[in-house]
């Protein structure tokens, strides 16, 4: 049962925002819709108006100027690989995009939608009947977190696979808000709160993702999941090093937000790993248990750095 009484397809960002303003809180933007529609199907999203932005032409462009790559938010995950600059500079981003969902979904899903897709939890991504049976949790009008057996915080999983890589690549997003256009560091939009994982005006539209082209990043992406396709992440890791030896780690799938740490030089690695390991608020709301996912954070990161090390001997200090 999908709750959305009206549907509008917009041709421009302005039109979309104007429509949004008319509907108060009772609307949802839809890009590919591969996340929105599922949440509607399960009754987790009960807004009554769908504003389809997928046809807005200017959000589908990829361009580079001033040493910045600009990826339109509506570029489909499957189409990223068609752009040589992305393939040349950010192969890890392609890997991350390729790891999302299934081939068919990637032909509809957008990169903008991916960084904004809703957090997940096995106690939340369920039908209305199911959630009633389990006794609603914090993320859907209940009083306690079921996954943790009664905590007052929600630890739903942050699942975007491209976001950790984008964060490691120092991505900024371009936001067309009701009061003008802004650039925001990608990691800054995530709150780490499972109920409201993003601090972005719901009426704002992300128009593009911007990536610096002059930092010579090396980046390694890994994803833990039970099967080799379709599955959401149980742990996503991205690590990067830029030409100045600045190291960045971003984790997904193990906390309500991305878990990020930065440092300088390969010698910082161990402490950075420990830092994110401690920061990640992993709970039992996944196919794999909490201890296993915790343990894998270390394994994945050590492997990633080993791979980075192999290609980046020159940065060792």
């Amino acid at each position: 049962m999908i709750a959305a009484k009206t549907y509008h397809k917009c041709q421009s960002v302005e039109e979309a925002i104007a429509l949004a303003l008319k509907h108060g809180e009772d609307f949802r933007y839809m890009a590919g819709g591969t996340d929105v529609i599922i949440n509607k199907f399960q009754g987790n999203d009960e807004t009554n108006c769908l504003i389809d932005i997928s046809a807005i032409p200017e959000l589908k462009q990829v361009s580079n100027d001033w040493n910045v790559l600009r990826i339109g938010s509506l570029v489909k995950l499957d189409d990223l690989k068609k752009h040589k600059t992305i393939a040349d500079h950010f192969p890890a981003l392609l890997e991350a995009a390729h790891s999302v969902a299934s081939p068919m979904i990637r032909k509809t899903a957008t990169i903008g939608g991916n960084i904004l897709c809703e957090n997940r939890c096995i106690f939340y991504n369920q039908s209305e009947w199911w959630r009633e049976a389990v006794g609603y949790c914090l993320k859907c009008e209940g009083d306690v977190c079921i996954a943790t057996g009664g905590k007052k915080n929600c630890f739903s999983k942050f699942v975007s696979d491209t976001a950790p890589v984008l964060i490691c690549l120092d991505a900024q997003i371009e936001v067309f808000d009701t009061d003008g256009v802004k650039l925001i560091k990608l990691e800054d939009i995530y709150t780490g709160d499972g109920v409201n994982p993003r601090q972005l005006n719901p009426k704002a539209i992300v128009t593009a993702i911007l990536l610096p082209l002059d930092k010579d990043y090396r980046c390694v992406f890994k994803k833990l999941r039970p099967r080799e396709s379709v599955d959401y992440t149980s742990l996503t890791t991205a690590v990067s090093i830029d030409k100045k030896g600045r190291i960045k780690i971003a984790l997904g799938g193990v906390d309500p937000g991305p878990v990020v740490a930065e440092g300088i030089g390969m010698s910082a690695i161990d402490s950075l790993i420990l830092q994110v390991f401690k920061k990640a608020r992993v709970i039992d709301n996944d196919f794999y248990t909490r201890p296993y996912r915790k343990e894998m954070i270390k394994v994945f990161l050590q492997r990633s750095f080993a791979e980075l090390g192999n290609t980046n001997k020159q940065f060792d200090n």
Partner: protein, 927 residues
């Protein structure tokens, strides 16, 4: 509502569409093209894939209004002028179509893929199909079909319609064209005028008294035609006469979360859904029982899930059988291996959700439903509806897979029949994927401690098993399952001292029942793990120790199973050779291993479920002036190919081409009784009945010619669609022969039947697992284990299965590959996860069926032993093949990293923990 303009397969449509309508709904419900299938509605299965402006789209998760003005191509638009597209043809010829439910989505996905990647590698093909769930084929034949299509090879050899000797030759399903072109109608595709739609209110408590149900508000909702509750259908049913413990809807109390409490029939699904929210139920929770341990504890009557059992607790059934002298066997053993195993439940996960339509007319009740057992449903409906048997007609349309999951009479079938009677209109139900999971009837979660003893030379001396299985809230096939877990261990190895104790408990969870490999998959896993352990401890090659202990053909087991044909030796030798076992087992680098397992299964239960004197299978043949043979049979083709099997057998006996044969199956008004598709009985039993009928018809034909031409019947031959005498003086073509046959007589009808011989001992429990024949098989698996993450990658499977004789090798391969694929799932990723009795992973995203990318390369071997009683020597191949693959994988993990996992599914962290534990013990030992 908005107006949506679409061109669908070249035809323009203008439809009024709501903002929340998905494209799939518009295509199926408004435009009426039902080739596009709905398997999940959540983007997880790919069945609904269509092309929009030549780009593939999952139509179940895309609002239709997005595509105003677009050109949509559905599966119906892929063939042109009634001719299949080349890819469709290859799907048919390669056997890439079984139940056919995934096929439309698969074909469209593959078409788009090859268009964009004209020279793909096999890995690329696998990746491209990895969002499309197929539960039948194990993907192998689909991948091959796509590869062949991409290579551009045209293979016009296969569909030979005029060939007359066809048993043993690979042959596409007779209905494959319909399935691949989207015109085959499944239960949800049936459209009847004025149909009402049913929805069910389901319990949110695992165990509770129902204090009151108030349906008054729901009844008032405009568009609601009836609201019904449990009191109205008080008669109990169940597939086994010994456990008629279920009612169509809960009466007085609920026994699991998801049990139906009330049902609504309304003009639309939306209205029915809205009405559910207006029904008020007051519950009084009762202590719930969710584990085997808890259910074994004594409780008061109020806490008993069912009060009519013999016990003071929630045990449903206990059984124990002992043969030989187990104690002596233990004493004489030089080595005894004993382990405790734990198995999570798994479920069938067929791609077609349950669906049915029921209506009443002057002939009583008709129900068109996705079922494996029309006959048992027929009986159950008559009982619950309280009408005579002759007022019920069950029709099975095309069915999108079953694997045992459609082999019980289901509450929804009773409820819609009742709603239809009450409203006077046809009533339809279709389950959401979540409801399919709630209905379950899958493999029982099990715990067992098993001991196996052997002499130093590897001779197996004794087997003992102590088994407990978790049956969920109702009986289903559970009493049989309880026995099968034990009795089916008495082969394929010779065991003179053998015994088991087993029990099934009721718990407040969805019920478990029969699933592919019924009853013996878990205990087989245990036994094969123990043999592996013994082999290692005795330093005997695991293949050798098995070869040493196999039963021979034509023997009797300790529990008095009559073994006739037996291809275990040949199966095992084949996979050992192909995998280069001798040179590689135990010799690969750490993290890389080979493992072996064997299997054994019944080929049709020799006893009917409901005791009666009917033959187990009856097949009618009618031959009329047009020269076409009509086969009517109650056997249910659920994608395994039984219609084709019947046609091939009849064609072979009469030596006519398949185009002169028409199969009409599984309609209880028209077709004679067949017990149904369970216990791997159809080829053996219905096949034998078909053969019997065809032989009778042959005699009718020859007799007629003999009489007309005044020649002895012994002189006549029926071959290649001609009847001719040995000296060729008489030589008439088929049509002429039929003319002679029907002249002054009319159509000729013959009846063939199969009744299994009297078998087995005369002790209590002797009937369990009796079968006129048994199947055997073996698998070798090759795995890689990542010692830091514990992740297992299955690299390759070699499988061999003794199916007696492959009547249709293409179909047999399909069954084997599907079985192995399903076994891989249970071994490493599938499990039914519950939270306080509530099924958590109730969708194809969280229930982890191996995708095409998780499916290894499979080497398929058919072993033929020519069974003395099977039709043309054939026996089962649809279930038994599953058994050996699970232990082969676990044993390969042992070979790779030296740890033995005794819990399914095998989780990476269990491997890691075991690795750590063995390291610690090793370290402790060196100190």
């Amino acid at each position: 509502m908005n107006i949506l303009k679409l061109s669908v397969n070249g035809k323009s449509h203008e439809v009024l569409v709501k903002g929340d309508e998905m494209l799939s709904e518009v295509i199926r419900e408004r435009i009426g093209l039902t080739g596009t299938k709905i398997g999940c509605e959540q983007g997880n299965c790919g069945a609904c894939t269509v092309l929009v402006n030549d780009e593939p789209v999952l139509s179940c998760i895309t609002p239709a209004l997005r595509f105003d003005g677009a050109a949509v191509t559905t599966i119906e638009g892929i063939s042109t002028d009634g001719r299949l597209h080349r890819l469709q043809k290859i799907f048919v010829e390669k056997g890439a179509v079984q139940c056919g439910f995934c096929t439309p989505g698969m074909v469209i996905t593959a078409l788009d893929f090859v268009n964009k990647t004209p020279t793909p590698t096999i890995d690329e093909i696998k990746e491209s199909l990895s969002g499309n769930v197929c539960r039948c084929t194990g993907y192998k034949k689909i991948i091959e079909a796509v590869a062949e299509y991409a290579e551009g090879i045209t293979n016009d050899q296969l569909p030979i319609t005029n060939e007359t000797s066809i048993v043993g030759k690979p042959r596409p399903y007779i209905e494959a064209n319909k399935k691949v072109s989207g015109s085959a109608e499944y239960a949800d595709d049936i459209r009847m005028k004025n149909t009402l739609h049913a929805k069910f209110l389901r319990s949110i408590y695992p165990h509770a008294r129902i204090e009151s149900i108030d349906t008054s508000q729901a009844e008032k909702l405009s568009g609601v035609r009836a609201v019904v509750t449990g009191q109205e259908l008080p008669v109990r049913f169940g597939v086994l006469p010994v456990s008629n413990d279920e009612t169509a809807m809960a009466i007085d109390k609920v026994r699991y979360i998801g049990e139906v409490i009330a049902a609504v029939a309304a003009d639309t699904e939306d209205i029915a859904h809205a009405a559910l929210k207006l029904i008020k139920v007051k519950y009084l929770p009762i202590q719930e029982f969710l584990t085997i341990e808890d259910s074994q504890k004594d409780t008061g009557l109020n806490e008993r899930i069912h009060t009519e059992t013999k016990f003071q607790n929630n045990i449903h059934k206990k059984a124990e059988l002992r043969f030989g002298d187990q104690q002596k066997g233990m004493e004489e053993s030089d080595v005894v291996s004993k382990m405790t195993f734990e198995f999570e439940g798994v479920t069938h996960a067929f791609t077609e959700p349950h669906a049915a339509t029921a209506f009443w007319d002057e002939n009583g009740l008709t129900i068109i439903t996705a079922t494996q057992v029309p006959h048992y449903l027929h009986r159950a409906l008559a009982k619950v509806m309280e009408v005579p048997l002759n007022r019920v007609r069950v029709i099975k349309p095309y069915v999108g897979g079953g694997f045992g999951g459609k082999s019980d009479p289901f509450p929804h079938e009773m409820i819609i029949s009742h709603l239809a009677r009450k409203t006077g209109w046809p009533v339809k139900i279709r389950f959401t994927r979540e409801e399919v999971f709630i209905s379950n009837h899958g493999r029982h979660p099990s715990q067992m401690t098993v001991q196996l003893g052997a002499m130093r030379d590897g001779t197996l001396m004794v087997l003992d098993a102590d088994i407990a299985i978790d049956g969920g809230a109702y009986g289903s096939f559970g009493v049989v399952t309880t026995y099968y877990n034990g009795v089916l261990l008495q082969a394929p190895y010779k065991l003179d001292n053998f015994g088991f104790k087993t029990c099934r408990v009721y718990t407040n969870k969805p019920q478990c029942g029969a699933m592919r490999g019924h009853g013996a998959v878990n205990s087989r896993f245990a036994t094969e793990s123990l043999i592996d352990d013994i082999a290692h401890r005795l330093q005997i090659d695991p293949v050798e120790i098995r070869l040493k202990n196999f039963l021979t053909p034509n023997t009797v087991t300790i529990g008095q199973y009559r073994i006739t044909s037996n291809g275990s030796r040949e199966s095992l030798m084949k996979v050992a050779k192909q995998s280069d076992w001798k040179n590689r087992h135990g010799k690969l680098e750490v993290g890389h291993g080979l493992g072996v397992g064997c299997g054994f299964f019944i080929s049709g239960s020799a006893l009917p479920i409901i005791w009666n004197e009917l033959p187990q299978s009856v097949v009618h043949l009618k031959l009329d002036f047009d020269g076409r043979v009509l086969i009517t049979s109650g056997a249910s083709d659920i994608g395994q190919g039984s219609d084709t099997m019947l046609a091939m057998i009849v064609a072979e006996v009469l030596n006519i081409a398949l185009d002169k044969i028409f199969v009409l199956a599984a309609d209880t008004l028209i077709t004679p009784v067949d017990m149904g598709s369970y216990s791997s009985r159809v080829t053996f039993m219905a096949g034998n009945a078909a053969k019997d009928a065809a032989e009778k018809l042959k005699i009718e034909i020859l007799n007629a010619i003999a009489k007309a031409k005044d020649i002895a019947i012994e002189e006549l031959n029926l071959c290649n669609e001609r009847v001719f005498s040995n000296d060729k003086s008489i030589d008439v073509g088929w049509m002429e022969a039929i003319g002679i046959l029907v002249s002054k007589r009319g159509a000729v009808n013959v009846i063939g039947k199969y009744i299994s011989p009297k078998l087995g001992g005369d002790f209590k429990g002797a009937g369990a697992g009796l079968s006129p024949s048994y199947s055997f098989g073996a698998c070798v698996a090759e795995v890689k284990v990542d010692t830091e993450t514990g992740k297992v990658k299955i690299l390759k499977i070699w499988g061999a299965h003794d199916c007696g004789k492959a009547i249709n090798p293409l179909a047999v391969e399909g069954q084997l590959e599907g079985s192995w694929h399903m076994g891989i799932g249970q071994a490493i990723s599938e499990e039914m996860k519950y939270y306080k009795g509530l099924i958590v992973n109730n969708n194809f995203l969280d229930y982890k069926i191996p995708t095409s990318m998780d499916t290894p390369d499979i080497a398929t071997n058919i072993v033929e032993t020519n069974d003395p009683e099977g039709p043309f020597g054939a026996k089962e191949c649809g279930e038994g093949a599953l058994h050996p693959i699970l232990p082969a994988i676990a044993n390969a993990i042992y070979d790779a990293v030296g740890v033995r996992i005794t819990k399914l599914p095998i989780k990476p962290e269990d491997i890691l923990n075991e690795l750590k534990r063995t390291k610690q013990t090793e370290a402790a030992m060196t100190i």
